[in-house]
């Protein structure tokens, strides 16, 4: 019996996708697998919500997509970070760090 998994917090999926793609371009299935690996047993990512997110990020101009041959030899749609996407990732990381720092502070304050 796997331990209970949390649904992914609102708004963090975009950040996770940007983070994964900042390492190397990937197709949807690849991103799903990476998410699965990273978050195994902690957060639960609905695979269905991945694609709307990818298309949204692409529409915002943070991702670009192209059809390339995948590792299996079939054509797959590879997403990669654009310049603005990279900037956006930095912004989100920064604000996430500030938010989690603040939450941690509040908890420490409360436990004292």
């Amino acid at each position: 019996m796997p331990s209970p998994r949390f649904p992914i917090p609102q708004g963090t999926l975009d950040m996770l996708i940007l983070q994964i793609l900042s390492l190397e371009p990937a197709h949807g299935y690849g991103i799903a697998q990476r998410l699965e690996q990273i978050s195994r047993s902690v957060v639960q990512v609905n695979q269905g919500s991945l694609y709307p997110a990818l298309h949204r990020l692409q529409q915002k101009g943070w991702l670009r997509a192209e059809w390339k041959q995948s590792e299996t030899g079939r054509e797959a749609k590879f997403y990669s970070l654009t310049h603005t996407g990279r900037r956006q990732l930095a912004v989100e990381k920064n604000s996430w760090a500030r938010l989690s720092g603040a939450v941690k502070l509040i908890f420490e304050e409360g436990s004292r």
């Binding site: 949807g28 299935y29 609905n46 269905g48 709307p52 298309h55 949204r56 054509e75 797959a76 749609k77």
Partner: protein
């Protein structure tokens, strides 16, 4: 907006998404199979994880937001359903297009004449400075007249103004190489262009030094249009000489394309500095130092000053100025009471971002009336479309019921119906804009004589398109709202159970619509009847003199360099030559032309057993002895002028006068007017040395409406001579006469332009242009409105008859006659018409007050006219309702009962 484009490439987007998802799915199945799960189970798991249908929908929402996508689907659905019923579509489209087109066309005039700001720097800070109180000093021109010294002195008031300009319009004779011809000119102060912030397109504009002293600036600036039309846009135009009223002047610049002066109703061909007034206005006295009022003053307020502040702030300066002005040369002698009122005068400042335009004064009321009428017409068209929509809604009851049953929300259905009406309204709007252009051109052709030289253009502007769009959206809302709301109620079960054709579309709502339509159209029909009667009455009445075979033209020799005495001699010579033409029966001249909306007007002081002054201006004219006979105006008493009167030497001013009947009735009742002494003017210094020698019948002088007090003097070289209008009663056709007259004038002076050579009948027609515009347009609006409302009535009555077929069938089966069935239906129709009339009458009475000043010979609530209009409407309604009624009487009881 990029989202919007996705709609057009949604096919390729969909295919891409399919491939992408398919890839994911296949990989997942392979991976799951590899981990030992049998393939069918793996496929099931992969599909469940991914939720394909859901993902697709969500991704589509990313491409295009949901409501927008729905809206586009709605539109597509609407287009299809419209294409399926072309008859309905054409009728509704045409109603809306006519309404929107008419409204847009009239609005274009309203906008250009009344709302459009001048194309100058910051028009919002311009104010018109006008006199408020007793003006005393004489003047010439249109309205808001001020003196030149006043403008100069206001320029010193820099506490309130960033600049002050003055201007006046006139016609000058211009010769650039060829024969002189009259062109419109604007006489302007040196500050004119700099205050307006208008720079030259070529050369320079008129500047302060040009206006520094009398005769200082013999220069002109050409308008861009005139430069192109007259000089072919020649690049070397600067420095060329031309003759203005035979005085040489130099072209120093060309104004920018869009700039047409400050009067939308009069476009100048060129601008002349005020310092050249003597050349531009031959015969004028010293205008730069005298208190004579002849220009309009526009000022630019400082940014931190409101008109009200400036108005009160100027008073401490203005009061002493009045005293000073009264000491200027040429200030009339006035009695103590007039002086008291004069000294209590103040200045009024009104915002004038649109500049100064007499046209606005005369046209604004007719235009607002027409604009209101088109608004009503558009409302009527919307109601008609709403009615048709309801009818279609009931025909589509089944379809809508089915969609509701399949789970569509009522809001969704309502939105679909709204999309229908919006699509229709926008298409109607586009069609309306296409219609608006020819309509505008036709409208401009209707405009009165004085507006033909105006800057009014039948051009579509951005503002106009915005307006048309606004009107279309309003029309869409108006016509779609009732049916859309209506789609929300009515029970689902019953709509499915009912036969098609009787479902939606409540009778009461549709009857309300028809009642409103009847009311609207009655208002328009009453308006049309009033304006048509006004025109007919004025035409039937005529100008009060005999216009048959009467030809007129004017000469202004002083604008061709003649002195006053030479000018008079030339005019006499031409008159003699005209008189001796074989085709001339009678001929005469007058100083002022008749029926041009203008006159020489002044108070008259009368000496009987007491001395008194007329309480209002009397229209004056100087005429030759043959004038009255030529116009067939009867002399009621006394004698006509003779050679002796016109040649009276040694005296200044006229010695004898003929006054009209109205003058006698107002001022000289109960005494013999012949022999009474009068004088022109109102001051205590006016000499009453003119003897009334005759009484003539009254006729119209300024326009066809007004029969005012008139006094005529004998024309002579002693009168101020600005030229003469010739009246010639001819034998044969006018064309022969025109030819002969042209020859006569050419013989006298080949360089002299002939002004306004035409028949007097044509002049009468021209002077009725406003009335004709109102009658023709309100007439067509009324007819259109009537047609629309009768179609509406017919529609709803047909609907009622269809619905009541069963009931009527039962009545007939029980022994009712066909006539009683007709009565049944007609009673229904007449109840609606009566209700509509009851709604319309108080509205028409209230609106009537607004149009009263445009009417002649009828009051706005004239019972005969109103009753006539109501009768026409009722007769039309009878026809419209009779067709369905007759069908009702022919219902076959067995068929009717078998229907269900």
């Amino acid at each position: 907006m990029i989202h919007f484009l996705n709609w057009f490439r949604r096919g390729s987007l969909e295919r891409g998404l399919d491939r992408e998802l398919q890839y994911h799915f296949d990989r997942r199945v392979v991976d799951l199979s590899a981990s030992g799960i049998p393939e069918p189970e793996a496929r099931r798991r992969a599909a469940a994880e991914l939720g394909l249908a859901q993902v697709r929908e969500e991704v589509r929402d990313v491409w295009l937001t949901r409501w927008f996508r729905d809206f586009l689907y709605d539109l597509r659905f609407s287009v299809r359903s419209f294409l399926r019923s072309p008859g309905f579509t054409v009728v509704t489209l045409l109603s809306l297009a006519l309404g929107i087109g008419a409204t847009t066309a009239i609005y274009s005039l309203v906008d250009q004449v009344m709302l459009h700001a001048l194309p100058v720097h910051d028009p919002a800070s311009l104010v018109l400075v006008d006199w408020d109180g007793e003006e005393v000093a004489g003047g010439f021109g249109s309205w808001n007249l001020m003196s030149y010294p006043m403008c100069r002195d206001l320029q010193q008031q820099t506490r309130f103004f960033d600049g002050v300009l003055c201007r006046a319009e006139t016609d000058v004779n211009l010769a650039a190489g060829g024969d002189p011809k009259p062109v419109a000119a604007e006489i302007v102060s040196g500050s004119y262009f700099s205050v307006l912030g208008i720079g030259p397109a070529l050369g320079r504009v008129i500047e302060e030094p040009d206006d520094a002293a009398p005769g200082a600036g013999p220069v002109v600036v050409l308008s861009h249009d005139f430069w192109e039309a007259e000089f072919g846009g020649a690049a070397d135009i600067i420095g060329r000489k031309l003759l203005i009223n035979q005085h040489p002047m130099t072209i120093v610049g060309v104004a920018p394309v869009a700039f047409h002066g400050v009067d939308v109703g009069g476009v100048p061909a060129l601008w002349i500095p005020a310092s050249m007034y003597a050349e531009a206005l031959p015969g004028a006295e010293d205008l730069l130092n005298s208190p004579t009022r002849w220009l309009q003053i526009l000022a630019r307020l400082r940014p931190d000053v409101t008109p009200a502040q400036a108005q009160t702030g100027l008073l401490p300066w203005f009061r002493p100025w009045l005293e000073e002005n009264a000491r200027r040369p040429g200030f009339p002698v006035i009695d103590a009471e007039t002086r008291r009122r004069y000294l209590a005068s103040s200045l009024s400042l009104t915002p004038a971002p649109q500049g100064h335009a007499p046209l606005r004064r005369t046209l604004s009321e007719p235009l607002w009336v027409l604009f209101a009428a088109t608004g009503v017409l558009l409302g009527l068209a919307c109601l008609n479309v709403a009615g048709l929509f309801l009818a279609r809604g009931s025909a589509r009851g089944r379809e809508i019921g089915t969609r509701l049953a399949l789970g569509a929300s009522r809001g969704r259905i309502g939105r679909q119906l709204l999309a229908d009406s919006f699509l229709l309204a926008l298409a109607g709007g586009a069609l309306g804009i296409a219609l608006a252009q020819p309509a505008m051109r036709a409208l401009l052709a209707f405009l009165p004589d004085y507006a033909t030289d105006s800057a009014l253009r039948p051009a579509l502007s951005f503002r106009l398109l915005t307006f048309a769009l606004f009107a279309s959206v309003c029309a869409g809302l108006l016509s779609g709202l009732a049916p859309a709301l209506h789609a929300g109620d009515g029970s689902l079960i019953s709509s499915l159970r009912e036969r098609a054709g009787t479902g939606f579309g409540g009778v009461r709502l549709r009857k309300c619509i028809v009642i409103l339509q009847v009311a609207f159209s009655l208002i328009l029909v009453i308006g049309a009847a009033l304006f048509v009667r006004t025109l007919a009455d004025l035409q039937a009445k005529g100008p009060g003199f005999d216009t048959a075979s009467l030809v007129s033209f004017s000469l202004e020799p002083r604008k061709n360099g003649y002195s006053a005495a030479d000018s008079h001699r030339l005019i006499e010579r031409v008159l003699d030559a005209v008189r001796s033409l074989p085709l001339t029966r009678d001929s005469g001249i007058a100083r002022n032309e008749l029926l041009t909306d203008g006159s020489w007007r002044n108070h008259v002081t009368i000496q009987t057993d007491r001395r008194f002054t007329t309480d209002r201006g009397v229209d004056l004219n100087a005429v030759s002895p043959g004038f009255f006979a030529t116009l067939n105006v009867r002399l009621l008493a006394g004698r006509n002028f003779d050679q002796h009167d016109s040649r009276a030497a040694a005296q200044t001013g006229p010695a004898s006068a003929i006054v009209n009947e109205v003058f006698v009735k107002r001022y000289l009742t109960g005494r013999d007017p012949v022999g009474v002494q009068i004088g022109v003017g109102s001051g205590p210094d006016v000499k009453t040395d003119i003897t009334i020698v005759g009484i003539c019948a009254s006729f119209n002088y300024r326009d066809l409406r007004e029969e005012r007090e008139q006094a005529f003097f004998s024309i002579s070289d002693k009168n101020e001579d600005f030229g003469a209008a010739f009246y010639v009663k001819v034998r044969g056709t006018p064309d022969q006469a025109f030819q002969a007259i042209r020859q006569v004038v050419r013989n006298a002076d080949p360089q002299l332009p002939i002004l306004g050579l035409r028949t007097v009948d044509e002049q009468v027609t021209r002077s009725l242009n406003t009335e004709r515009m109102l009658a023709a347009l309100s007439g067509s609006f009324g007819a259109l409105a009537l047609l629309l409302s009768l179609i509406g009535l017919y529609g709803v009555m047909s609907f009622v008859v269809t619905r009541r077929t069963r009931e009527i069938g039962i009545r007939l089966a029980l022994g009712a006659t066909g006539a009683s069935a007709i009565r049944l239906v007609l009673r229904d129709a007449f109840a609606m018409v009566a209700a509509g009339i009851a709604v319309a009458l108080p509205c028409a009475a209230a609106l009537g007050k607004l149009v009263q000043s445009q009417l002649f010979g009828v009051t706005a609530t004239d019972p005969a006219t109103v009753a006539g209009a109501a009768l026409v409407l009722a007769a039309g309604a009878l026809v419209a309702a009779f067709i369905p009624a007759w069908r009702a009487s022919n219902v076959n009881p067995t068929d009717a009962l078998r229907l269900d």
